[in-house]
């Protein structure tokens, strides 16, 4: 096995990975980025609407308002000190992106343009605020491109199309990772003082998803199998507006520009569910509303979808009703200019022109709030007390800081990437200066090589494609937007059967070495099965409804018992693991505690967990 030695190994080349790579290398570390995709293929590139930062370029805004919205949006499971750091650092991070050349749209004052987004408000919920900094509807694309460009400028080393399949942990310290070079099928060891997981989410556990095929949760699954617990896995966000049946994302920015959701009665139903924020309530609220409209027989043609209408005549009619300024009114050209990709998707895939017709949308599995637990410097922690695993870092969707709590606000994923990618990069640069090299064990990489040999030699009757489809179906039916003890039990049982077939009856056609995508997809399916299982197990234990986790048998939020993060531990056995779920990690309520300490009367406390109303 070829061994590569670098101070810092970054796994994944999306926004979090590239940000970490840039800042670690600026801090003097020798960095290698190892990614299964060419960096510009990463899923950060599909983020559309914007990145939230309280720049105040168009409306009065402050980081503390952004903090409040993030905590409230997370249904008070958000760690408050982390949300504060997120919101404060967001301002600097966005300015730095502009300094790196990111082509944001501009205001008439030549500053970064901002738009409204769900759940983002001014003055603690008073009114919606323009906070999402945008580059048309391809903000993520521009972030990814800009960061990759800067990495080229800074001569960061890239190992493109190297897929990381295991981490090397020696006496509780992370000493690097094992990867497969896709072009040759050969195993490589990346020996590092620090390893940074930025491998993204696992939306491919569900059948209707906005996520790329490559979002198989590799980093989270690897960490889980090597003794890192996963945090808050029961919270998976369904974005309300995926293209009907395909799941392709239609940005919340459509509603930010005035678009509305309409049911089969022609009613703007969000007025009933969220009288103030309406269509721009948080995503969990809007997704549930669409399901409830469907159950009440008010989906379009009774097929489980509703209309998202951004036709100027519709938008302007509601603007007029709300007494909005004539200057806010939109026309066809506004929609074309601000939402070009959305128009392109609808025209290409649906033959629908959103300027003339409404778009058919349904909730789509979108974002993991949970993941590898970290502190605010992206260091991986392994227990409720916050014990750090030396040498291990994580940021972005694969990590759980937790800034998103039980439900992430729109734009905050991009904020998370840049803020914690940056903090983690800086922290690693500092760490590698003082840390010693941990010698590699003699058998490094042998265990995972044996696992790949097992998968490759699979000559049973279960194709990965069939198992994947069945997993996605049961996750959609049983571990989706609404859950009960029975559906979750069903999900766990179905997954057990699929896992059994995966480990005993797998069939792989491709036995070759070069670009064996059949083999890699099968291994990725194993990651998805583990993460699906952990999701269902955390979900069955949390007997309350909070944010994206909606239990029909436990309808209310129960702060008395459940103001805690779940941690799921795996015993390391690949084929038939035992799990332990605990809720020992309390939610950080430090901002509320400060208010109490300052003697702020209860009715004026902003960070006290209260029922969410939008």
């Amino acid at each position: 096995m070829q061994i590569h030695k670098h101070d810092a190994i970054i796994i994944g080349a999306g926004g979090a990975g590239l940000m970490a790579a840039l800042y670690a290398s600026k801090g003097g570390a020798d960095v290698a980025v190892v990614s299964k995709l060419y960096p510009t293929r990463s899923h950060t590139g599909t983020a559309q609407g914007g990145i939230g930062a309280a720049l105040g370029n168009l409306d009065e805004d402050k980081p503390i308002y952004h903090t409040y919205d993030t905590v409230k949006g997370g249904d008070y499971l958000t760690d408050q000190h982390a949300a504060k750091i997120l919101a404060e650092n967001a301002v600097d991070a966005v300015i730095e992106l502009e300094h790196m050349g990111l082509p944001f749209d501009r205001t008439s004052e030549k500053r970064i343009s901002q738009r409204r987004f769900g759940g983002h408000t001014r003055n603690f919920g008073e009114e919606l605020v323009r906070r999402a900094c945008h580059a048309a509807d391809r903000t993520g694309h521009m972030i990814l491109q800009t960061l990759y460009q800067q990495c080229i400028k800074n001569e960061v080393s890239f190992f493109d199309e190297f897929q990381v399949v295991d981490m090397i942990v020696v006496d509780g310290v992370c000493a690097g990772v094992v990867a497969i070079e896709l072009g040759t099928g050969e195993f490589h060891i990346f020996h590092g003082k620090a390893s940074f997981f930025a491998t993204g989410g696992w939306g491919r556990c569900w059948s209707v998803t906005s996520n790329a095929h490559s979002l198989t949760g590799d980093g989270a699954a690897i960490a889980l199998r090597r003794g890192v617990p996963l945090e808050d896995m029961e919270f998976f966000q369904f974005h309300p507006t995926g293209i009907y049946r395909m799941g392709i994302l239609i940005t919340e920015g459509v509603r930010g520009e005035g678009g509305v959701l309409i049911n089969s009665q022609g009613e703007r139903f969000m007025e009933r569910y969220a009288p103030s924020a309406k269509d721009l309530a948080s995503r969990d609220v809007v997704s549930r509303a669409i399901y409830l409209e469907t159950r009440a027989g008010r989906s379009i043609k009774n097929r489980g979808y509703v209309h998202l209408d951004v036709r100027p005549q519709t938008v302007n009619r509601y603007f007029a009703e709300e007494g909005r300024d004539q200057g806010d009114f939109i026309n066809d050209a506004t929609v074309e200019r601000k939402l070009p990709d959305i128009l392109d998707f609808c025209r290409t895939y649906l033959g629908v022109d959103p300027v003339k017709e409404p778009m058919p949308v349904q909730p789509t599995a979108h974002y993991a709030m949970g993941g590898i637990p970290t502190n605010v410097d992206a260091e991986v922690i392994i227990d409720a007390a916050g014990t750090v695993m030396p040498g291990a870092y994580a940021a972005g969707e694969t990590a759980c800081v937790s800034v998103h709590g039980a439900n992430r606000l729109g734009t905050n994923s991009l904020v998370d990437l840049v803020v914690f990618g940056r903090r983690g990069g800086m922290k690693m640069a500092e760490y590698v200066k003082g840390a010693d090299w941990v010698p590699l064990p003699d058998d490094a990489g042998q265990e995972i090589r044996a696992e790949f040999d097992r998968i490759r030699s699979g000559s049973g009757s279960s194709r990965p494609g069939e198992l994947r489809a069945k997993m996605q179906e049961t996750m959609m039916d049983n571990v989706g937007v609404f859950r009960t003890e029975d559906t979750l039990r069903q999900g766990i049982d179905d997954l057990a059967e699929l896992r059994e077939r995966f480990h005993r009856d797998l069939r792989i056609d491709d036995k070759a070495l070069v670009f064996n995508t059949d083999l890699m997809e099968a291994w990725e399916l194993g990651c998805l099965l583990d993460l699906a299982d952990v999701t269902a197990r955390a979900a069955i234990e949390r007997k309350e409804s909070r944010g994206a986790h909606s239990r029909e048998d436990f309808k209310g939020r129960d702060d008395e018992h459940w103001m805690a993060h779940s941690l799921v531990l795996h015993d390391g056995r690949l084929d038939n693991p035992a799990y332990e779920v605990n809720f020992d990690k309390r939610v950080d309520l430090s901002l509320w505690e400060e208010e109490i300490a300052k003697g702020v009367p209860e009715e004026r406390q902003k960070f006290r967990p209260i029922e969410r109303v939008y």
Binding site: R41, I95, M100, G101, R106, P464
Partner: protein, 247 residues
């Protein structure tokens, strides 16, 4: 509907499959609105797991799945069966070494990309107020089209000048350079124009226009190349692109 896929294949690991060959697959129950990528997945997942291709986002943003479909460069995830008919022929993009089936070696493409200084350069002190650099929306729009590029290589690998000479930087690299040359905040425009004035730079373009219809992002590639040529001839970057007055 039933659709026959005829796919150009080769596999370096199998002695009898090292040379390119065609293989046909028949798919039943194809919906006209299915994406070609979904059909390739059906073939891979239901019939032959050895079929190899790159893909990721599946909606035309990541740029992984460029291939030659019925003789035209497309992203497999952005073309629907109804636009192609009942016989669909698929080959790897041309002009790059094929590694396996539809997977080509992308390194030469990215090497060209790296040559044009595809990154923002501005060594002036940052604004003293700690805020963003200023730019008018009109100036921002001058290079809007070229910011859409996803580096899929559809344009470069549809270009006969590139097929004839792999050292030519190709349309995609020029589009990437364009994105910075016409950004009023950038300071390395002249250096990029110098790079693109070299023999394998922009003058290899014979204005054949294959690149423009090949672009899945509807970038006016040939127009962008023309603007770079004009900037080289006039030795300036300001005033080359006329602002779009429609909005």
């Amino acid at each position: 509907m039933d659709v026959t896929f005829k796919i150009r294949r080769q596999n370096p690991d199998m002695p009898d499959r090292r040379k390119p060959y065609w293989q046909e697959f028949l798919l039943a129950d194809v919906d006209p609105t299915d994406r070609v990528l979904e059909m390739l997945h059906r073939i891979k997942w239901e019939q032959d797991g050895t079929l190899s291709l790159r893909r990721s986002c599946a909606h035309g943003i990541c740029g992984s799945d460029a291939m030659r479909i019925n003789g035209v460069n497309r992203l497999a995830c952005k073309v629907l069966v109804r636009d192609l008919g009942e016989r669909i022929q698929i080959e790897p993009i041309l002009g790059m070494p094929v590694i396996k089936d539809l997977i080509v070696d992308m390194e030469p493409f990215f090497e060209h990309y790296r040559r044009v200084m595809p990154y923002f350069v501005n060594d002036d002190p940052l604004p003293a107020d700690g805020r963003e650099r200023l730019q008018t929306q009109a100036d921002r729009e001058l290079f809007d089209d070229s910011t859409k590029c996803i580096l899929c290589a559809c344009c470069t690998t549809s270009c006969p000048s590139f097929w004839a000479n792999g050292h030519y930087v190709g349309p995609a690299a020029i589009v990437q350079a364009h994105r910075f040359i016409f950004d009023t905040r950038d300071q390395a425009g002249q250096e990029r124009l110098d790079i693109l004035s070299e023999p394998n730079g922009v003058w290899r373009c014979r204005t054949i226009f294959n690149c423009t219809p090949a672009c899945p992002r509807d970038i006016e590639v040939t127009k962008a190349i023309g603007e770079v040529k004009l900037a080289i001839r006039k030795r300036k970057t300001i005033g080359i692109i006329q602002p779009n007055v429609s909005h």
